[in-house]
């Protein structure tokens, strides 16, 4: 399968297979006017399978969003067919409005305008807790 190389844009690489769409949505890439390619299940030596996103324009991406979803992702910025920068992604200390607190007793459950803020409380286990009620964020709950 061939996807055109890009002259100026971003390559978001080493995305865990299956997480590409989540990232696409979290970064609001659907709102862009330019070409965006989401390639799933690309064969990778390191990862076995991975997802890749290519954006045909240099845009600002929220590295906190990327880091929260998967800190192993790499972001290469390409200008005039050359990689001009590789973003270093880390697990963010704090994320705002990326995930929502699901605790019905949390103040955010009744005050809709409050930002949903989570802080990293255990980097090893990647545990984030709501800053208001300290409830642990669990993806599938």
């Amino acid at each position: 399968m061939n996807i055109d190389g890009i002259t100026n844009g971003l390559v978001i690489d080493h995305i865990e297979a299956g997480k590409g769409m989540e990232l696409y949505n979290a970064l609001h890439l659907g709102d862009l006017e330019c070409s965006v390619a989401l390639i799933k299940n690309v064969v990778s030596h390191k990862m076995g399978k991975k997802d890749i996103i290519k954006v045909d324009e240099v845009i600002d991406v929220d590295l906190n969003v990327l880091g929260f979803i998967d800190p192993n992702i790499t972001v290469n910025t390409i200008k005039n067919n050359e990689i001009v920068s590789k973003a270093h992604i880390e697990l963010p200390q704090k994320v705002t409005n990326i995930i929502k607190c699901k605790n019905p007793r949390c103040i955010t459950s009744v005050e809709q305008e409050l930002p949903h803020v989570f802080k990293l409380t255990d980097p090893e286990k990647r545990i984030y807790r709501c800053v208001y009620c300290e409830t642990k964020y669990e993806e599938n709950k």
Partner: protein, 303 residues
């Protein structure tokens, strides 16, 4: 320190400072009678409370300040749908300091971000209640004289009891502590509290369902209420409820200098027959609640 939202925001040095101040207030109340003259405390209680609200108000009055506020959400603009942020922005225009109780977890933190004056969390749902923990700590200090080398038994509902969680977290920072966790299986201490506050710090602990068997080793017995509604079935409740009621016969093997504490209100978990026992510290604990809140108000107002 600008606000008090969570007890763990305070270092042990800051806690010591508050306790020393509270002890000084107890020893020399006359020196503090006008410390907060012309200062106003707003007590914003979005849910009812007897002890906490009155102790905050008594604390401010004993410091020569004045108090205002409301004791239920229905008598505030919250009933009209006003946000916490807007309510405290308004109150911050009139009061010098705010004590807030709210049924939603995190509401006092939101308040502290917008009030412009110091905010004290007076209880946010089942989440934090730092002034209760300060009260407990002052009581331990006054009854025992020290925080280290104590065997602390916590008994009853260890699963939902927020005062127990905070006390364990606060006491786990001192040397030579041992915890004895006494509860029915259904109401055991949540694993995150046990892991973070006890296991990770290699603090010795014992977990049991039998209060009587561990009684002889306890220096402190912190009782909480086992509530009927916490049980899945009535049978278990009936089977267990009496095991966690403290009666004089259960104290026969206890140390002579045991300190019996309870955050109150009590229903029946401590027999009234124990009230006159010198080891019963729970009413002294209530009294301490006012003094530690006086110390806290002074600290937050920079006085």
């Amino acid at each position: 320190m600008q606000n008090l939202i969570d007890i763990l925001e305070l270092s042990t040095a800051e806690i010591d400072e508050l306790i020393d101040r509270a002890n000084d207030i107890i020893a020399h109340p006359e020196e503090y009678r006008e410390k907060c003259k012309y200062k106003k405390l707003a007590t914003l209680f979005f849910e009812p409370s007897t002890r906490t609200r009155l102790s905050f108000e008594a604390a401010m009055l004993d410091l020569g300040g004045s108090v205002m506020g409301f004791s239920e959400a229905q008598s505030s603009s919250a009933a009209k749908g006003e946000s916490v942020a807007d309510t405290v922005r308004t109150v911050g225009c009139y009061a010098d300091i705010i004590a807030m109780r709210h049924p939603k977890e995190g509401a006092p933190l939101v308040a502290s971000m917008h009030a412009g004056v110091p905010v004290i969390n007076a209880g946010d749902g089942g989440h934090n209640h730092p002034t209760q923990t300060l009260t407990d700590l002052l009581t331990i200090k006054r009854e025992k004289g020290h925080f280290d080398n104590l065997t602390i038994g916590v008994c009853g509902d260890l699963k939902f009891g927020r005062t127990v969680h905070s006390l364990i977290q606060a006491m786990s920072r001192y040397e030579g502590i041992k915890f004895v966790l006494i509860s029915p299986e259904e109401l055991k201490l949540p694993s995150y509290v046990k892991n973070d506050a006890i296991k990770k710090k290699n603090i010795p602990y014992e977990q049991t369902t039998d209060l009587v068997s561990v009684m002889p080793e306890l220096d402190i017995l912190y009782m909480t209420r086992v509530q009927r509604e916490r049980f899945f079935n009535e049978e278990d409740y009936i089977r267990l409820k009496d095991s966690y009621i403290l009666t004089p016969d259960k104290l026969t093997t206890a140390k002579q200098d045991l300190t019996i504490m309870h955050p109150l209100p009590r229903v029946n978990e401590i027999s009234v027959a124990i009230d006159d026992d010198p080891r019963a510290a729970y009413f002294r604990q209530v009294k301490n609640g006012k003094f530690i809140r006086m110390a806290l108000i002074l600290k937050l107002l920079g006085l």
